[in-house]
Symmetry: C2
């Protein structure tokens, strides 16, 4: 399957832009064909205009057809077969097994949202019947449900070329809720993006969706900004750096009409190893930790970049073991730029007084994108003094902080910025001794783990992948799991409408058999 | 009951500020005792510090006690008796009957949120049990629920001195969700605010809440800004002007840690009168309209400031009738400033070429805050040409736009900014002939009414009081009804936690008997 390198604009292809770029194989440094056309401002305007035209049609397409569209996207992605996996491997250096797993997750997400909208209760239908005889005033008939927001701009992530990219979680949830989607492809994997966009395109045509339901642009930063600034854009999804996410948030907030930005950004995902657990399982925990730190060459949002323990011989053994394991791992990062930033940031941190390198491997010279795992250690005062030690270093590195006491450990927790996750390793006795720690961490994170590692995010209704700033720009939302559909929807209330003119979800007969709150009682 | 004019800072009174101001009776222009102390920056810092201290305690107080606190606030407000009503009347010129009704609503809201948290299902508890044998990977135990955000800053509204002020909807929902509250009192009714704050204070003491759970400051604009900028503030509620709300939104978005701002701002609440309805009910609709326009001297957020009809003799009669009725109404506005802006804005609009004054009453000279109702008319091209005709004029005025055709009427709908409400008056035949209009308006509003008037907002689960910008800064939220509790909460997920360490809502035995989604099935 030959790649064409063009932009997808509402069912058509565009190569209007004269500027092109090529993908690079991070493992070898070689440039990959074909050249990809950067979108122009005209492309941006056309994509948004198509999306705006498609919106009123798409949002009222019967749910079963919308679900069939999502299912079909999943099938078309699978039908790309080995071509997709091979191209993704060439562009990202992620191993085949990982990419096969990620494809499974991507397909699973699409099908999950298809099932969610088929079931239908996600719209939170709420009905209060009229009370014409109520005193002093009668009550009118009121019915409320969630409806889609409008065209959604989604920025593909570098680190999940399938599951958080063109047909990733944000695209699946936005489409499921009834919103057209415009994806800005990540420049790290433009070919993978094109292949996925083709799958969506084919699915849209096969299931007779309005053409503007989907566009995908290859875009530089100024063009990405134009997407967010466009008056017809109604929400933004982003996964990436703090700097990038905050910039988009600021741009969206400064629009004449501000729009929500769901940016998932930096997180160091602290892991607290309490004394009982350390005494019982120290070496096994060090192994589990380093497996989590090096997974995907440390390029997961939930990578545990910080470990906090109480200084004792158990912690010493733990640090030593983790350092040894770090010395055995190196891997290719997603892009040369990401790898360079990893080395720069690591160099800055390891030079701080009070920070010790406990173990790292020599980097192979075969590739510029090769990163070696690293374990650093420090004490609590040093950690609290240097704010840069709280900043995410995207890559296979973790910092272990030794505390003198449970109080010092709590102080670190209290001083922590918002996180996607925090983890407590402990015995039940540890938990009983540190009830305060749970309470502190609840205020800091989106997900709190006990005796586990934060990498590996389950896609299910009870997942919360989000957290207080700077983990995300909106702690009220999740980017993983069925709850993600809510980010691209808002409530509307119908007052006194004839039954036949109401959306099916709100009609008296409940034809969709969904769960509804009717006169304050749940029923279906 | 003598007023002291002080600020309420976490259970203590503060009169640290040397600057004072007095309330004014808008009906007479007289200054009302006592002087009120403007809060200082120290007061701001103290209020937030107390709130931050109170938060970890308050959020974990058993629900029944938190509900008892809300119920007690309601009782204490009622116990203020006539003193509260009299003071509110003196400060706002709102009639006694309206204030008694508003007190009823205020108390009702507090009790509604008490019941909501007693029932408990609002936390959206979601459980996915572990699947240790799942292939290729086991699933861990995951449990998700909503938890409070932290200290919430609430700006009292001018137009609801009870129901959207110190103990209004935002305070009730924020406290119910488990957040401490810091209210910035509206300077239009400082005495009413003090009395209400006393009621909350008494209730907090009687039910043994941590003192920092509630503070109330009299503050000028720069001090209000400091409240929003304070790093310990985690969310903001506001009801008022577009200018004010947008300014607070911008300030919150520019913080190092951005926080959500729920600002409910301007809305002109368009009313579409379709031909069938006009022919059938024209004069009665004109009466209903003017009752809605003049209610509370036009000072409701849902005041219908725009009527759109199709030009014919029916519309002519309607316009004439509305104009006549306008000539019969005048009333005292909430403050002299509000009244002055009303007259200024009205003067600007009525001078526009193509805009005709159809009726207004002479203003009585007895008071500076006296406003006469007004009905203006214009045609669609004029309306579309002048953007200022789409801006809210806060007060008893409405503009009637005559369209040449159903298409022109739809064009107006399409060009409309976001609104709290839109209304369609029609026969069933009208609705069938204008299905497009419903679809267009769904994208513009928070609440869509059929054959009614938008004033009179029911407080219930299915109410949506919000809407796309500029109606509010966050269309995903409502400020009225049980749904409002969600604005001050966010989800957290617990992974693999021992049952006993989980919040009650997530324990296997479901001790609170709440509705939960367990392994994708609703149950309690």
């Amino acid at each position: 399957m030959d790649l064409h390198g063009k932009n997808f604009i509402g069912g058509q292809l565009s190569a209007g832009g004269v500027t092109t770029f090529n993908a690079t194989n991070p493992a070898t440094g070689e440039s990959l064909d074909p050249p990809f056309h950067l979108a122009t401002e005209d492309d941006v305007n056309a994509a948004l205009a198509h999306a705006d035209q498609a919106f009123p049609v798409y949002r009222r397409i019967p749910t079963e057809q919308r679900a069939a569209f999502l299912d079909r996207i999943a099938e078309e992605i699978l039908a790309l077969g080995d071509v997709l996996i091979k191209r993704a491997q060439a562009e990202t250096a992620l191993p085949e097994a990982r990419l096969l797993g990620e494809r499974g997750r991507t397909i699973g997400q699409l099908k999950m949202f298809a099932e969610l909208i088929r079931e239908g209760s996600w719209v939170e239908a709420t009905i209060d019947h009229a009370l014409p005889d109520r005193k002093p005033l009668p009550r009118v008939d009121l019915r409320r449900m969630l409806i889609p927001l409008g065209p959604v701009v989604i920025f593909g992530a570098s680190n999940f070329p399938l599951a958080f990219s063109v047909a990733g979680g944000d695209t699946a949830s936005a489409l499921a809720a009834g919103n057209p989607v415009i994806v800005k492809a990540h420049p790290g994997h433009p070919g993978t993006s094109e292949l996925t966009a083709r799958a969506i395109q084919t699915a849209a045509e096969a299931t007779k969706m309005p053409p503007g339901v989907f566009s995908m642009l290859h875009a530089d930063v100024p063009t990405g900004v134009k997407l967010v600034q466009h008056p017809l854009a109604k929400a933004v999804g982003f996964t990436g750096s703090l700097q990038g996410g905050r910039a988009l948030f600021n741009i969206a907030a400064a629009r004449p009409e501000p729009i929500p930005v769901y940016a998932e950004m930096g997180s160091i995902n602290p892991v607290f190893v309490l004394p009982g657990a350390m005494a019982k399982n120290g070496p096994a925990l060090a192994e589990g930790l380093m497996q989590s730190v090096t997974m995907g060459t440390g390029q997961f949002c939930t990578n545990p970049g910080l470990v906090i323990g109480v200084q004792n011989s158990g912690l010493e053994t733990f640090v030593q073991k983790a350092g040894e394991l770090a010395g055995k791992f190196s891997g290719t990062m997603l892009t040369h730029g990401i790898c360079e930033r990893f080395h720069d940031n690591l160099a800055k941190v390891r030079e701080l007084p009070g920070v010790t390198m406990q173990g790292t491997a020599p980097v192979k010279a075969t590739s510029q994108a090769q990163a070696a795992a690293a374990v650093l250690s420090t004490d609590a005062p040093t950690f609290l003094r240097h704010h840069e030690l709280q900043e995410e270093i995207f890559g296979p590195v973790t910092l272990i902080v030794g505390c003198k006491s449970a109080e010092e450990l709590e102080t670190i927790a209290r001083n922590m910025a918002g996180q996607l996750t925090a983890t407590i390793h402990g015995t039940e006795q540890d938990l009983a001794d540190h009830r305060n720690l749970i309470a502190i961490l609840e205020q800091k994170v989106g997900r709190l783990l006990f005796n586990g590692f934060p990498t590996g995010v389950e896609v299910c209704p009870s997942m919360q992948h989000g957290g207080p700033y700077p983990a995300t720009t909106d702690s009220r939302s999740t980017s993983v799991g069925t709850g993600a559909i809510k980010r691209f929807a808002r409530p509307i209330c119908y007052q006194n409408f004839p039954d036949a003119t109401l959306p099916e979800e709100l009609r008296d007969a409940n034809p969709r058999k969904i769960w509804r709150l009717v006169d304050n009682q749940m029923s279906r």
